[in-house]
């Protein structure tokens, strides 16, 4: 595989101390941190949508239980937005270090939209806090309250667009051109199906979360909260089931839209076993849920069996995701490293050559005035006999100033003396002794 545009790798070692074991640690950290991050984000998206949904139903049907469900869901939103952002940092850190050339290139191609993950997020956070902390104040202005909540949810839902475009782009350097940009990446079939898969999974995971959360709330001392717990458990079941079934179709579409060389590497390395494991255990979880779909008392044992099976799926998905990442990027990373090594070797040679040349060069004999001109930056704009940014010193000499006048003009230039030039900035940094030497030297050029 030859890639047209692969940046060099950084000429600094990846901080593993050269140990294979540390490399493995980094990979495990990447997979685990990524998984935790995604679970928080899943629940964030699902719970914030659920809160607005039940808030609206509660208002329409004048049902305090739905209102309570909606309010209860704001606590996981607060926790998940904060912990989700925080746990996003670790994978970002690891990816940036391990896949520097590919990841940075993709982020830049997706800019300025890439910055949406900061500014869009800040706006969404603030709106979600506003939604939560005006709950009682805006009790009688529901439409305004719902509008705030909806805006927050809508913003949260846009963030995965940017992430997914970048993630998909860095893993597929074969698709890069000189003009690849965010919208190209976003409207590709592979990005599209991954987004579908991700959003569906968010609701499925939130369904599981609602089952757990509802079971806990059923034990509350408060009657309304207990009923809200029932609603959460029941809603959780259907939120888990429906997207899960749909994802059985979306999943293969995601897989087969990757570039074929990546799929080949993926199968050759045996990663597909994880797919089988994941599908089997999610089918088990779905089966258990269906069996107890109409049973209002989901026992603890059954609940944790469902969650446990689903977790096996999530874990295998997270791991095979890494498998696909390696399958797609290892050749590009190898090319990057080779380019980089070549660059460093050439740079080393050139650097040594330059050092030797410097030693060999005879020390030029400059007059004290020339040294002063060089040292004080005058030569950036002047030369002795050539008009540059400023007039040639030869021409200044023609003006017939006294030495003192020249010194004064250096500290306080009079641009009107040279109408064809831009004004010279005053040169306060110039020491008085140097100014005198320079002035004398200029007048010597006549």
């Amino acid at each position: 595989m030859q890639f047209n545009f692969i940046p060099n790798d950084l000429p600094l070692p990846i901080p593993t101390g050269g140990l294979e074991a540390v490399d493995v640690v980094l990979t495990v950290l990447l997979v685990v941190a990524w998984l935790v991050h995604i679970l928080f984000i899943n629940v964030l998206l699902g719970a914030s949508t659920g809160s607005v949904y039940f808030n609206k139903r509660g208002a329409r049907e004048n049902n305090p239980v739905f209102d309570r469900v909606a309010y209860l869901l704001t606590t996981p939103v607060t926790i998940c937005e904060n912990m989700g952002a925080l746990w996003g940092v670790a994978p970002l850190l690891l990816i940036s270090v391990m896949f520097t050339p590919l990841f940075y290139a993709a982020a830049i191609m997706n800019s300025p939209q890439w910055l949406h993950i900061i500014y869009g997020n800040i706006a969404a956070f603030l709106l979600s806090y506003l939604y939560k902390y005006t709950w009682h104040k805006l009790e009688h202005r529901k439409s305004l309250h719902l509008a705030i909540g909806t805006a927050a949810v809508a913003l949260f839902l846009t963030l995965p667009l940017v992430f997914m475009a970048t993630v998909q782009l860095y893993m597929t350097p074969t698709t890069w051109t000189l003009n690849t940009h965010f919208w190209d990446a976003l409207f590709r079939a592979d990005t599209f199906f991954r987004l579908v898969h991700f959003y569906l999974a968010s609701f499925a995971v939130t369904g599981l979360f609602m089952m757990i959360y509802g079971t806990a709330k059923r034990k509350s001392d408060d009657e309304v909260t207990r009923q809200a717990g029932d609603v959460l458990v029941n809603t959780g079941k259907s939120w888990f089931l429906l997207p899960t079934v749909l994802n059985l179709f979306a999943g293969p579409l995601v897989l087969f839209h990757f570039p074929s060389y990546g799929i080949e590497n993926f199968f050759n390395a045996g990663w597909y076993w994880l797919i089988i494991l994941g599908v089997v255990s999610i089918l088990g979880a779905a089966y258990l849920t269906i069996k107890d779909f109409f049973n209002p008392d989901l026992s603890k044992g059954k609940l944790w069996s469902i969650v446990g099976l689903a977790f096996i799926t999530v874990l295998s998905m997270a791991t095979l995701r890494h498998g696909m990442r390696l399958s797609l990027t290892s050749e590009a990373m190898a090319q990057s490293k080779a380019q980089s090594d070549d660059f460093v070797a050439r740079s080393k040679a050139a650097s040594e050559e330059a050092k030797n040349a410097q030693k060999a060069a005879a020390v030029a004999t400059l007059s004290p005035a020339e040294v002063a001109l060089e040292k004080n930056g005058c030569l950036a704009c002047h030369s002795a006999d050539q008009k540059l940014v400023g007039p040639a010193y030869k021409d200044v000499a023609q003006k017939g100033y006294s030495d003192e006048q020249i010194v004064a003009l250096i500290y306080a230039p009079k641009p009107e003396n040279w109408p064809d030039f831009i004004p010279m900035p005053p040169q306060p940094q110039l020491p008085k002794e140097d100014a005198a030497i320079i002035a004398k030297w200029i007048n010597g050029l006549k």
């Binding site: 901080p15 952002a85 830049i108 603030l126 040292k375 930056g377 540059l388 940094q429």
Partner: protein, 450 residues
């Protein structure tokens, strides 16, 4: 060297969008670190005196802090990364590789900080003052304060490293960092002390102002709150100055020389007194307004509260700006220029040319011809100059070369790093490339010449 696709920000320029995020982050994160310390003391005071009203006031300050720290502070902190990521990937990439494990530790501490903050904040209402549960609750804020200070300690090491990396480069080819030396760089400890007290000062100023707003009809709590936070403000001044001076001593001489240029605009190089006068004016405003609040808490007008916030905020902004500016022309002192070119790679780029190293470059621009010269020059401008200049917005290069002919520009480009403009990195490339850049720059003013 590496070459990425180019993101260029028209009119505002890179530095501006970065500075926007960074300055917001500085304000909020210092308020959060200082605030966590001050709030821990405030809680202690409230619990000790079983003072319900003061406890309520603390909660209101905490609420503000929570919203700001989590929604704005944490995200703009990640934002600094994300911005540099697209603006100067070479620099952030290098910093990440040298500081990876320190950053990782910082992330773990950050987790502790966030979890304690969430627990402290979300369970406040269920652990009211006067109950035994409050004592356990108090431990959360102590842990939170310690953790948030530790995150600052680690980040400060990285900032210190950029300015005073010390002897961190164990070998040049291939580059090998000395991880311990990079952490223990000369300005770490002094700048940490400086930032700690400036965080306390800034948070106390903020808490005084918030107290003013939250106690409109409770003169007694207002007086108590403002005096309480005011003591922290005044107590941090002396250590702030001592650490500040020690920190200043660590700066390289070339950076010290740029101080007056860094303070707001280059015009101050002409009149260094002006920068000093403005700074002293701000200090005076901070002193007068804080004293007004402190000694006349019930009478002090809103203007005093706002004056205190504006004066101390501007001083912080000025400090950060100067710190960023005087590091020029480097982004990592002595190792990497602001435009991502490593100092040690200059001989190669000057010998073989920049174009030869570039990856994201159309093939027709790889060889300079009379026809494509201007286009190549534009690319070179994007490669090397867009970090600090825009074409016709902030620090516009068009204005900088106005009235110069091509030969003049060509000459000037050869001297970018001269003592007249020591904050610019030297041009990197062959003579032919330098001529192409000049050919492009002269076209910028072609229309307005006559």
């Amino acid at each position: 060297m590496f070459d990425f696709p180019i993101f260029s920000m028209p009119l505002f320029g890179h530095r501006f969008i970065f500075a926007f995020d960074a300055i917001v982050h500085v304000f909020v994160s210092h308020a959060a670190v200082g605030g966590s310390i001050v709030l821990a003391f405030a809680q202690y005071f409230a619990i000790k005196n079983n003072d319900k009203k003061f406890d309520e006031l603390t909660y209101k300050v905490l609420f503000t802090l929570f919203i700001l720290a989590t929604a704005v502070g944490a995200l703009t902190g990640i934002g600094i990364w994300v911005h540099v990521n697209i603006i100067n990937p070479a620099a952030i990439g290098a910093l990440l590789r040298v500081f990876f494990w320190k950053w990782f530790v910082e992330w773990i501490v950050f987790n502790v900080e966030m979890i304690l903050l969430l627990m402290f904040f979300l369970t406040w209402k269920s652990k009211p003052i006067g109950t035994p549960a409050k004592a356990g609750h108090f431990k959360l804020v102590v842990g939170y304060a310690v953790a948030s200070w530790l995150t600052m300690a680690i980040i400060t090491a990285i900032l210190g490293f950029q300015m005073t990396p010390g002897n961190w480069l164990a070998s040049e080819f291939p580059a090998k960092p000395d991880y311990v030396a990079s952490l223990m760089n000369p300005s770490w400890i002094p700048s940490l002390g400086f930032r700690t007290f400036f965080a306390i000062l800034w948070a106390s100023a903020g808490a005084m102002v918030l107290t003013w707003f939250f106690t409109k009809d409770d003169a007694e709590t207002r007086q108590k709150g403002i005096r309480f936070f005011g003591k922290f403000l005044y107590a941090s001044v002396i250590p702030l100055l001592v650490f500040g001076y020690w920190y200043y001593l660590q700066f390289p001489q070339a950076a010290k020389d740029l101080f007056s240029v860094g303070a707001v605009t280059r015009r101050f190089a002409v009149d260094p007194q002006l920068a000093v006068q403005i700074t002293l004016g701000l200090v005076a405003l901070a002193v007068v307004s804080s004293a007004y609040l402190f000694f006349r808490p019930t009478k002090a007008p809103m203007l005093a509260a706002i004056g205190l916030l504006v004066a101390s905020g501007t001083l912080i902004g000025e400090f950060e700006r100067v710190r960023e500016f005087v590091r020029k022309p480097y982004i990592i002192y002595g190792y990497m220029y602001a435009n991502g070119i490593r100092v040690q790679d200059m001989p190669l780029i000057n010998k073989e040319g920049y174009l030869k190293q570039a990856v994201f470059l159309p093939d027709e621009l790889r060889k300079i011809t009379p026809e494509n010269k201007v286009k190549v020059g534009e690319q070179l401008y994007l490669f090397e100059c867009r970090y600090c200049h825009t074409v016709n917005g902030i620090n516009s290069v068009k204005t900088r070369v106005k009235g110069w002919d091509e030969a003049t520009i060509y000459h000037r480009i050869g001297q970018l790093n001269s003592p007249a403009t020591p904050y610019m990195p030297p041009f990197a490339g062959t003579d032919e490339e330098r001529a192409a850049l000049a050919a492009y720059l002269v076209t910028l003013n072609a229309d307005s010449k006559h």
